[in-house]
Structures are given as structure tokens and as C-alpha cells.
Amino acid sequence: MACRSEFCCVGSFPDSVAAAAAEAGFTEFSGALAACADLQFDGTPGVSWLVLAQGRLAVFRPGVSTPCWGPMELTKVSKVRCFQAVGSAFLQVMVDGLYVMVVRYSNARRELFGRVRIQMERMLAGEEVQAEWVLRPSDWVCGACGLPLPGKGASCPRCSRRHGILLRSLGLMRPYTRYIAGLFTMMVIGVCLDLVPAQLTRLLVDKVLLPREHLDWLPLILLGLVGTSGSRCVLNIFIGRLSSLVGTQVTRELRQRLQAKLVSLSVDYYNRHSVGSLMSRVLYDVDFFHGFVAQVAQGFLLNIMLVAGVGAMLFLMNWRLALLVLLPIPFVIMGTMFFWKRIYPRYYRVWDSQSKMAQLLSGLLSGVRLVKAFGQEQREAERFGENAGYMQTARWRLDAGTATFNPLMGFVFGLGGLIVWLAGGRLVVGDRISLGTLMAFFGYLGMFYAPISALSMFSNWVTGFMSAAQRTFEILDSTATLPVSPNPVRMPTTQGTIEFRDVVFGYDPYTPVLKGVSFRVEAGQFIGIVGKSGSGKTSIVNLICRFYDVQGGQVLLDGVDVRDYAPEDLHRSIGLVLQDPFLFRGTIADNVAYGRPAAEALEIMDAARAANAHDFIARRASAYDTKLGENGAGLSGGERQRISIARALLCDPRILILDEATSSVDTESEQEIQRALAQLCRGRTTLAVAHRLSTLKNADRILVVDEGRIAECGTHDELLALENGIYRNLVRIQTELTRLEV
């Protein structure tokens, strides 16, 4: 079998390498594997081919007959790894206890060499190369057009023909088509009404004032002027109200969609984006869509109609004079293009300054106690000052640009008016047009230039809108959501069996934190998880809760992959108590009942009682109706923790996860919490991550996680009996510490 992709071959070598490989003694290609690296060891770009065949390993450069690395017998290799450096990586093999670099590749080839590493490990284990696995299409690049995908396995934005920002924004108004049609009709009527006064003026001048005849027409003409003006006024009221109605509804829906999307985004997304920046988008950027509706309804469309309607009237009245009116237009277009190019980035900077200010304030106000504790008020004031300065400069540069552009455009239009005066005056003097016609012309001239001026400034508004819309759609288009199974397994109730099968996981997909973790927890068991910081304990918890998805292997709950669960079923089955419990602004009762808002008052109190929280709540003047500040301000750490336990208890989950639930409270509070937890754990599968090993003494089993692997597993006594065991060592250290404290 011989098959190949652009950078990888199985069962054959590329022609440029085959000859060199043959010279080096590679003659049998069956089961051979070749992969193309794109960097030399010193970091300069350069192609080299890693060749694995006949139990040997070598690296060749195209056209060079001798291998640049190897050949080496695979029997000398004990391990293989992909070593991630900064901006590139190495495939390394362990020889005589040392990792030796074999090839260097850019991050663009990480996926390929990740697959090659797995196949090399299979070779070392005497297994066959899985050609289809190593050659399958990339998960990170569109197979059809080659465009990098926004996320692993995400749909290609080019091939899925995602519409442009403006079209998408217009699409948001689709549910309001009837309203928009109504607005459109009113605008057409309004434009027609706008054309009437100039014609009435012409009639007044030419038929009444100049000839001093038909004086009885005067009140009728004035009545007509009042009538059109009044009608326009009424129409404007309806147009304004209707467009505001549509605008506010569109922004409300958009905010709700953003909120829903933000909640659905994976935890990983929040590791990469600041909360302040996201808040700025939901709060301020969405407002641009309200403006967008108003612009479409009253700005852009109205102005286009006015230009078309008034332009037609001008040409009907005198086409030569009308042509002169068009003289300033090319200058306006050029000016607008210049404006677009120069001012466009300034809008971004204004937004950036606002966003940074929001981030700074959010951090400053959340950490105000820390600022005071370290006496950093002055430094924070300076930082804020710098930010305020940046904001001021950004705004000033934008305003300066628009303040220059607007008067210049006004001057250009003014010149157009002067040309019409000159040419029109001559025509009137030469009796080729009437004075009334010239006056009507000037009446229309203002109506013609004003919308053109507004349209030229429309680009100004559009730039601001486009940047805001881009940021808004960036959230909506984010693929950082965990995929939901199209046919989820419905599990209204679960037993609580948990199984990890050879789980590989890393927050960066190429740097695994968990490296082939396997264990099984029977329903109702109490399992302790210990290990030093960064060993992978919390990653295990994150995977059970499905805050992230595994990169390899499976996490099973009652024998079903957590990825196949309906998210609501999965989350109903799991109760989570964290080291630093989060409480929302609201009453104590609201917080206890957060997972079950419909819970009865008695149930809330029962849960609080079981969590040893009832007594301290009852002592408060407003008891369960006590309003809590930001993140439970007003409660001690232990009290907050007990409320969070009550919250978990009320949901009655089959699986309970305690992630360092008692590590940040004092000993007395810990005892209280331990008593509460004993109540909570009864009859449930419990996984407790803990540093204080004394809390896990009675666990059915303890998993010791080290460097992303389960290093030890057993009961407290079994693990203590292990000579040089990690757990035994941890217990020894803690015992000594306790003795010191005493």
C-alpha cells in the first residue's frame, strides 16, 4: 500500500527522498512512514524528510544523498516526544536516557508530527502504522479551499459563504419586514411632501407676487405650505417612533443572543478574552445596531430617496442648471474616500481605548482591597491617568478628523451654490427661466446637497458601525463552544458511575496536561484526588463537568460518553463545590436556590441546615432575605462556602465534585464544612480534590495524580504502605507541618 498527502507518505517515499534513502539502504517501503519538516535546527526555513522504515529512522534533505540525521535503529529508541518550544517544535527520541532532536518543524506542522509521534510509538511497540489515521485531512485547515479554520473541526467561513457585515446586519431586521415596509412607504410619502413646498413657492413668485395677480391664491398656497409642513411633521413622528421600536427590539434581541452565546462559550474562551472587553461589546457595541436601524430608516434610505427625487425635479426644471449642481459631487466622493481611509482606524482606537478603560476599571474595582493593602493607590491613579490620556487622544484624533472634514465639505457645497447663482442669475436676466423657477431651484438645491452631505458623512458613521458590528459578530461566530450531539442520549437520572478511558487532554492541544489517564469510579464511591499543583487534578474535574473536551480517549458517565449527553442532563447530574465559591448579587435564598429557582422556602432552609449554614443565616436580621453584595460580600469565607454547599445540596446531584472545597477556610470553618460535606456526600459518587490529606482518610480510594498521569491508586492505608510512594511522602510532609504548627 502506498498513499500520501502533501507532507506525509505511508508505504512510499517522495521521489526527491527515495533515491537518497535507497543510498542509505532503505529499500523496503512497506509500512514505511515519511513526514516533511519545514525548519532546520537553527530555525531557518528548510525542508527535510523524516523517514521511518525497516526498523530505522533517518532524516534527509531533498537532493542530498546522505542523511542529515541518522540512520538509527529504532531498537535504540526508548521514547518519542514532541517538544514544544516557542514558535516551533522538535520531534525528539530518547536514546541512552537522553532526548535527542530529530527534526524541527514550525507550529503549522504540529498536527502532522503529533500524528507521526503516535505512529512512532506504535512502531516502538511493534504495531503497524495506521496509514488512514496519519493521512486523514487536517482538523485545522479547510480540506476544500485550504483556509485555516477558526477552530478545530469548525466550518470554513469561505466555503460556508458567510455574508458581509452589512448584509448580516440587515438580516437582523428580517423579523420586522412589515415595520420596515411601513417605514419605507412613509418615507416615500415624506419625500413627495418635501418636493411640494418649492413648487408652491415657484407658483407664489411666478403667478402671484411678480405679476401681482391671483391674489386670492395666496392664502391657498400658504395653506398648502402649512398642510405639507404639518403632514411632514406627523409623518416624522411616526417614522421616528417606528424606527426606534424596531431599533430597540433589534438591540434587545441581539443582546439576548450575545448573552446566550457568551454563556454557551467554553471556559477556554474566557481564558483568552477579558471580561471588561466582552462587557464593552454587549453594552456599547450593540447600541450601534440601534443607530443602524435609524440610519437605514431615516438616514441612508431617506437621503438616497431625497437625492433621487430632488435630482429628478432639478433636471425636469432645467437640465443645464442641474448639471452645474453636480459639479461638487466628484470632490465630495474623493473627500469621502480620503476620509474613509484616514479616519477608519481612528474609530478602532476609540473603541480600544474604551475597552481598555473598562478592563482597567473592572480590575481596579474588583481588586480595590488589594490596591489598598499594598498601598498602590498612586500607581493605580497613574495607570488610570495614562489610560484616560490614551482615551482622550484617541477621541481627539477622531473628532479632529471629522471637524476638518465637515467644514471642507460645507465649503465645497457652498461653491456649488455660487455656481448656480452665477449661471441661474444669467438665465433669469436673459428671461430664459423665471425668477420663481430659480427660487424653486435654490429651494431644491439645499434639499439636494444636504442629503449628499449626509451621505458623505454616512461613511463616517458606517466605519464606526462596521467596527462595532465586527466585534459583535466575532462573539456570535465564535466556535469556542463545545459541540452538542445531534442525537443526545437523554438521561433524566444517572447512577453516578464515572470512567476515564485513556484520556489525553491539554488546554493547549499540543501540550497535554493529562497523558493517558484511566480510572473507574463506581456509583456511590468517595474518591479522593491528590497531587501537587499543576499535576492535572482540576483538569480531571473540568472534563467530568465537560467544561472542556478531551483530545484523546473518553470520559464516560454511566457508560455514556459525556459528549453524547444532553448538556442539561449532564449538568443536572453533577454538583460542584469550588475552592472559591461564587455568589451572585441577590438574597441568600436566591443563591441557595440558584440551581433550582422553583425550590420551596422549606427546601431552601433544609438544604442550608444540612450544609450547616442555617444557623448563621438565621442570626441575620433579614435571614434568608439578606441581600448579598458582590460575590457574597458581607459573608466570611466559610459562610460563603457553606452557602455554596447548600446550593449543591438543593440540586440533589448524583455526582458531587469538591474542588479544594475547604482549603481556603480556617480550621473551625473547615470542621463545620466537613460536617456539611459528610451530609452532602451520602449516597452520591463523590470526587474530592484536596490538599489537606486528612480530609480524604475515609475515601474508598485515592488517586494520586502526577505530571498528568495516575501515579498511585488505593486506599489511604494501601498508599501509605507504598515504599517511596508520592502519597506517603505527601502525608509525611503534612504531618511534619502539622507538628510544627502545634
Partner: protein, 183 residues
């Protein structure tokens, strides 16, 4: 007394802090498989070491940490070279070679064009390796600050493209760049 108090925290911390690798106690040489070996007086010989910058932007030639992989496949720090220039030249060269292997960043010298499509930025740039194209998501987290005035761009595959000082780019390039990377 005042001086003592001011100096005390640094001295106290140094006792329990990072091990300083000075030329007096440290020898860096090339060993088996051209790997970096580090010998520390009074300690052991560390084979297969590699160097990492602790302040890659502010002090690229100082505060270099030497690491090795232990028998349990864990990375361990051997110690810290505070000032590489204090070492003999051949040893400096070896550490620099190791640093060169640990860091791969393309330095952007010119920005010929930037285009935005499908939420992606398509760059056409000149780097120290010549002219090339790359694609990066148009997202805040893909263009990080690099020092006071620089930016590091992460393309769709996390390859790194550095502009040490955006203001040092030619005017039109700067305008093209800040038109999209405005933060």
C-alpha cells in the same frame, strides 16, 4: 541600618531563590548528540540541557534559565545565568545556539498589505527570511503586546511574527498595520 533594611529582603530571598549559575561554578559544553551539557561545581553533570529566556523582551541576553529533563520526564531547572556576557565566548555561543532552538520568531520588517476576509487577516510581509504571507484570526488575543511599542502576531497555527516597534515601520506600513491591529 536603613541600608541593611533595604538590602535585607533581596539577600534573604536570594538564599532561598533561584540558583545563580556563574562562570566560576558552571561549565557549558557540547556533549553526546551535540546536546548541551552543563556541569555545576559541587553538583552533578546535567546532560541534554536547554536554555530559556526569563525576560525575552526586556532582557533577551540576561536572566537565562537552564533546564534539563530528569529521568521521570519532568523538566527541572538547573539554575539561572544572570548575565551571559560574563561567560567565555564559546560557552556563550552554545547557550545562544540553544536559545535559537528554543525560540522561533519571524521579525516583520515591512507590511506590504493586510486584507480582512471571513474574520481573518491576510498579511503579506517581509521578514528576516524573505517575503511571505500568513493568515491570522482577527482577534484581540492573536496580537499581543511585545514590550513597550511592539506586537507579536500569532497566525492561525500559532506561529509567531514579531514587530519589535510598530512605530519604526515605514509610515504606510504602519498605517496598514494599525488599520487592523489597532489595540
Amino acid at each position: 541600618m536603613v541600608t541593611d533594611t533595604a538590602a535585607a529582603p533581596a539577600t534573604r530571598l536570594a538564599k532561598t531563590g533561584v540558583r545563580r549559575l556563574t562562570p566560576e561554578i558552571t561549565t557549558v559544553f557540547e556533549g553526546t548528540f551535540s546536546l548541551l551539557h552543563v556541569g555545576v561545581k559541587g553538583d552533578t553533570l546535567y546532560r541534554g540541557a536547554f536554555a530559556a529566556r526569563m525576560f525575552p523582551v526586556r532582557h533577551p541576553d540576561r536572566f537565562i534559565s537552564l533546564h534539563y529533563t530528569d529521568a521521570a520526564d519532568k523538566e527541572q531547572e538547573i539554575g539561572l545565568i544572570e548575565d551571559l556576557a560574563a561567560f567565555p565566548e564559546e560557552q556563550q555561543a552554545l547557550v545562544r545556539q540553544s536559545l535559537g532552538r528554543n525560540y522561533h520568531e519571524k521579525v516583520i520588517q515591512r507590511v506590504y498589505s493586510v486584507r480582512c476576509d471571513f474574520g481573518l487577516l491576510f498579511f503579506d510581509v517581509e521578514t528576516q527570511f524573505g517575503r511571505e504571507d500568513f493568515v491570522m484570526p482577527w482577534r484581540y488575543d492573536r496580537a499581543e503586546e511585545y514590550g513597550e511599542k511592539g506586537k507579536v502576531l500569532l497566525d492561525s497555527f500559532d506561529n509567531r511574527f514579531v514587530i519589535p516597534n510598530v512605530e519604526a515601520l515605514p509610515g504606510p506600513d504602519q498605517q496598514r498595520f494599525t488599520g487592523f491591529i489597532y489595540w
